[in-house]
């Protein structure tokens, strides 16, 4: 602190904020969102999760390359096609990551959104700033969704690069039997990526809601991940067939329809609708909870 009192005095302008000073600025969401994204992506944990996701396709590609022997029909879908065409590395990796690794990282990030700030005590300072409870929740959700996109992109980019480096790339046979150029195939892969991102929107909203219930981030993360696994277990029980179309994980692996000629948009549409439904319901729950929550941490 300045040791001469004059310095302290000179630093205190008369506290009469001008109207321009105290009215919200244009584009008021952006600075907070930018700061949220920078905090999120500067965390070592985020980098570690993205690196782990990127490692999945690399491991697949290296393993296939080293063994050179793939039994058709065994292992995850598309695995047996990799040696013919490197672009299948991405698809294999997405099939592997969608049920477990992606929900895991998305659960960690979305479960941490509010509970992490609360547990750390920064929530009270954000609210006193004042960030505004609705604005903060919105920014937190957008941050979690951006992470879901980054996570998916991490798999796709690493998978594409590994596939291109280790395997030949040529004309790609689609599931419908049609053969397309690698460029068209990469376009389809990006579509699949968009599908996976959309698939994670519902889970992110659930994580956000759970995150408003507690001040213990690990609890919220664990609960979110557990729900993602439970939903898939329920989806596998034929006795609960009536429930299946309502489970947020129901269409997670439905992206194969994007690999036909012509593209079948049916599952994309159903999935998007379902995810938006979850987003609306759990977004509303989250706001309902957070708007009136006593911040005592």
């Amino acid at each position: 602190m300045p040791s001469d009192p004059q310095a302290a005095d000179s630093g205190s302008p008369a506290p009469t904020p001008t109207p321009a000073d105290s009215s919200p600025q244009r584009g008021t969401l952006w600075p907070l969102l930018a700061s949220e994204l920078s905090v999120l992506f500067r965390r070592r944990r985020t980098a570690a999760m993205l690196a782990t996701l990127a490692a999945v396709p690399v491991l697949i590609a290296v393993a296939v390359r080293l063994t050179r022997s793939t039994t058709p029909g065994r292992g995850p879908a598309f695995l047996d096609r990799i040696t013919e065409n490197g672009l299948f590395v991405v698809l294999t990796a997405l099939v592997l990551c969608t049920p477990l690794f992606l929900p895991l990282t998305v659960g960690v990030t979305s479960g941490d959104t509010v509970a992490g700030e609360a547990g750390q005590g920064t929530l009270r300072y954000l609210l006193v700033a004042p960030a505004g409870r609705f604005r903060l929740l919105l920014v937190k959700y957008v941050g979690a969704a951006v992470f879901a996109v980054a996570a998916t992109a991490s798999v796709i980019v690493a998978g594409t690069v590994a596939g291109l480096l280790l395997f030949p790339v040529g004309q790609v046979p689609l599931l419908s039997g049609d053969v397309v150029s690698p460029w068209v195939a990469e376009g389809r892969i990006l579509l699949v990526g968009a599908y996976v991102c959309v698939s994670l929107l519902g889970l992110s909203a659930i994580g956000l809601f759970i995150s408003t219930l507690t001040d213990v981030p690990v609890g919220a993360m664990a609960a979110t991940v557990a729900l993602a696994i439970a939903a898939q277990v329920l989806d596998a029980l034929p006795q609960l067939a009536w429930l299946h179309p309502w489970l947020f994980s129901h269409y997670w692996l439905g992206f194969a329809d994007l690999l036909r000629q012509p593209i079948e948009w049916g599952s994309f549409g159903s999935n998007a609708l379902l995810q938006l439904g979850y987003l609306a319901v759990f977004g509303a729950f989250a706001y309902g909870r957070f708007a009136t929550k006593d911040v005592l941490s």
Partner: protein
């Protein structure tokens, strides 16, 4: 009414389950005051501050900050308020400067163009500039406390709410916080500071309130608070017995001293003490009466109780926290 009080509460109450943490609080913090908010551990200071800042909802009662009802007009009020609530809290993996940039960008009213400059000034003001680029997890307790103060100083404020601002600070830091509060007050900012360091409050505050187990037991100017406490007249004399009877004749009640008669033997001289009611005659009249009766007065003093006496009288001697 608005403008007169920076903080005004009416029967403000907060219940946690069966426990009443704050009970029917009627607080009036005059605009421009440096207001000490005193109370033992667990007496409800932080809970009150949380309600004032809209972090927690009151169970009943109302609060107005800067003339506006809270939490209804929170968005209009909070940009004008700087706050330190129950200690500082930061992102440990960010530097001090980045933490302030983050919190400043959370305020939609904060001008973006001046953000960097304002953060630099706030750090400068609390003496943290040399450590601005260090990660907060490498900060000491006092450095974090300073960073918390810097956060409250990011913009010119009309009201500062500081919950135990000197917690963890070294003597220089404590002094600087006092200077800081004085300079803020000189600039017209109302300062509401919770503390249990009475000596500190006595040095900087113009007003104070004392909490006990969730209830307000006293509030007013510092002089009022001290004055409401016991005033005591003390006579130093070898003629203890005579002095006692003179005091009794004047309508005073000499305290029970060590020998049980309001007289304490201290070698040749004894001290005789008596409580002095507020409306009693001027103290010098007592001396005159004593001297007129031939009492050899070797010393005479009137002690207005210190804030500490008053605090202990109001909140009890016990060390255990109230439930």
């Amino acid at each position: 009414m608005s403008g007169q009080f920076a903080i005004e509460t009416h029967t403000l109450t907060k219940q946690f389950g069966a426990q009443t943490a704050v009970n029917g609080l009627d607080l009036d913090v005059p605009t421009g005051a440096v207001f000490g908010f005193l109370g033992p551990n667990g007496s409800g200071k932080t809970t009150t501050i949380r309600m004032l800042l809209g972090l927690a909802a009151a169970s009943s009662g109302t609060a107005a900050v800067l003339g506006r009802p809270m939490p209804r007009e929170l968005d209009a009020v909070l940009p004008r308020v700087g706050a330190l609530v129950e200690g500082p809290a930061f992102y440990p993996f960010l530097s001090g400067r980045d933490n302030l940039l983050r919190l400043d960008s959370a305020d939609p009213h904060a001008p973006r163009a001046s953000r960097k400059a304002r953060v630099g000034q706030a750090l400068e003001r609390v003496g943290l500039s040399p450590a601005a680029s260090k990660k907060v997890k490498a900060y000491s307790l006092g450095m974090k406390q300073r960073l918390g103060l810097a956060n409250a100083l990011l913009r010119p404020r009309e009201l500062m709410v500081l919950d135990e601002p000197t917690n963890g600070l070294d003597p220089q830091g404590t002094r600087e916080v006092r200077n800081l509060i004085r300079s803020l007050a000189a600039g017209g900012t109302t300062v509401f500071v919770s503390s249990h360091l009475l000596a500190e409050v006595e040095q900087i505050c113009t007003h104070a309130a004392i909490m006990r187990a969730g209830s307000l037991v006293a509030q007013g100017t510092l002089a009022q608070l001290r004055g409401e406490g016991k005033r005591t007249a003390t006579v130093l004399t070898p003629d203890a017995g005579a002095a006692k009877s003179v005091l009794a004749r004047l309508g005073l009640v000499p305290d029970a001293g060590i020998d049980g008669e309001g007289v304490a033997d201290t070698g040749f001289d004894s001290t005789v003490t008596a409580a002095l009611p507020a409306d009693h005659l001027v103290p010098e009249a007592i001396v005159a009466a004593l001297v007129a009766d031939g009492v050899r007065v070797r010393g005479f003093s009137v002690d207005t109780g210190s804030l500490e006496d008053r605090f202990v009288a109001l909140t009890g001697e016990g060390f255990d926290v109230a439930q």
